[in-house]
């Protein structure tokens, strides 16, 4: 358990000393969201309708951007080998790395989303649902993404390949995440969507670290 905390601490410390990488993904999120009104037009009713989808798609893309970093730097400087050879079970260390990834790339999106939601004239209660959905959904993105990051480690054109592998797997998260906000706005209630997101999160939390561990061992062999 202390090893889990240690790896979270280590990755957060590194992220703190390399703030620019975290901030880049965050500004990417803001810019992508702001591009949609420019492309579609400023009509408030339409923007309000598509806001949940836009915010979610931007969150997916922004997560993709930071996924490359998850194992690549550790791979390049040889510390990944040390993690694999550590007496601590690799699954635990991988879970810690995923947690740290969410704290540096998922959580900021959750905190920023309601501010951006205001630009689209979402009501406070809809903003609340948006935050709730992102809170359940962004860890899911980190978990699923870690499998892709491990599989494409050290592979030619890894970044583009990673999005090709991972984005289709993100579709359920997108559907239920954006759907929760839409359902709330249309008065259907978001609880169904949110419980499904939570179920997916539980499933991924169980299986993803395991699959990532297997993929990492293959990549290092």
């Amino acid at each position: 358990m202390s090893a889990l905390l240690a790896i979270v601490r280590r990755d957060l410390l590194i992220a703190m000393r390399r703030k620019s990488e975290v901030l880049t993904a965050l500004f990417f999120f803001i810019i992508v969201v702001s591009l949609f009104p420019l492309g579609i037009g400023p009509e408030p009713a339409l923007l309000k309708k598509i806001a949940p989808g836009i915010l979610w798609v931007a969150a997916l893309l922004s997560t993709m951007l930071s996924l490359n970093r998850l194992f690549a730097t550790d791979h390049a400087d040889g510390t990944l080998e040390q993690l694999v050879l550590s007496p601590t079970p690799l699954g635990l260390l991988v879970a810690g790395k995923i947690m740290a990834h969410w704290l540096t790339s998922g959580l900021p999106l959750v905190l920023l989303a309601p501010v951006l939601g205001l630009q689209f004239d979402l009501e406070p209660s809809a903003l609340g649902v948006l935050v709730g959905a992102l809170l359940l959904g962004t860890p899911l993105l980190s978990l699923i993404g870690s499998i892709g990051a491990a599989l494409t480690l050290g592979v030619r054109g890894g970044g583009v390949l990673l999005s090709l592998l991972v984005l289709p797997l993100y579709i359920p998260a997108l559907i239920f995440g954006a759907g929760a906000v839409e359902a709330h706005i249309s008065g259907l209630g978001a609880s169904g969507h949110l419980s499904l997101l939570a179920a997916l999160l539980a499933l991924a939390a169980f299986f993803a670290p395991w699959a990532t561990t297997a993929a990492l061992r293959i990549s290092l062999e």
């Binding site: 599989l151 390949l161 359920p172 299986f207």
Partner: protein
Amino acid sequence: MNNRFINWFRFASPQSFYPLAGKMIPWFWGLTAIFGVVGLWISFFVAPTDAVQGEGYRIIFIHVPASWMSMFIYLVMAAWAGLGLALNTRLSGMMAQALAPTGALMAFISLWTGAFWGKPMWGTWWVWDARLTSELILFFLYIGFIALQAAIDDARRADKAGAILALVGVVNVPIIYFSVKWWNTLHQGASVSVMKSPSMAQTMLWGMLIMALCFWMYSIAVALMRVRAIILERETHTEWVKELPEVKQ
């Protein structure tokens, strides 16, 4: 360990599978031709004209079997991949790699014929119908698998990495399918189905089943041909490949 078990493993080696596959390929091509002729004959001349959709519906004799095959091949591919990871047999990875392009082709045919069917039915080439959308995502999954394998130089690593992706994909396929279906019903999307209509005649079902068999045989034949090519490529410098008559020339 009984004898049958040993025999199975004997064919798991590329060296003994290569000639076996060579012998099986003509048979599967033959079956493809027979089922193809019978299936097309039923679908064009025997099956009655649909009361609602007219003659245009006949594209389902290609569309539906292709959709079935695209899903089925993904399952088979994942099963081979899982087998390869569990038993560390080389042939399993090669089979998975050989099946992927055929699966992608089936998904593509399904999308393409779906668009052709959609034009007269819905008046538009593409509708975000639950089944078409799932098929599109399945196509993406195939492309991802092929791209990952192509990007990794070491064949063994490519097999293993592909296997994990295929297994992750196969867990996700039902989740994706149901989420898309749910998304679709929530947005009241259009969905037309000949299968559900009461006018679906027995002969139509037969035509579809025989066409499915034709696609099945075709997939096996093509996968076996591709597996033979993969074996040759990977085992180029082994003695037995150098001794093959087709390589010696």
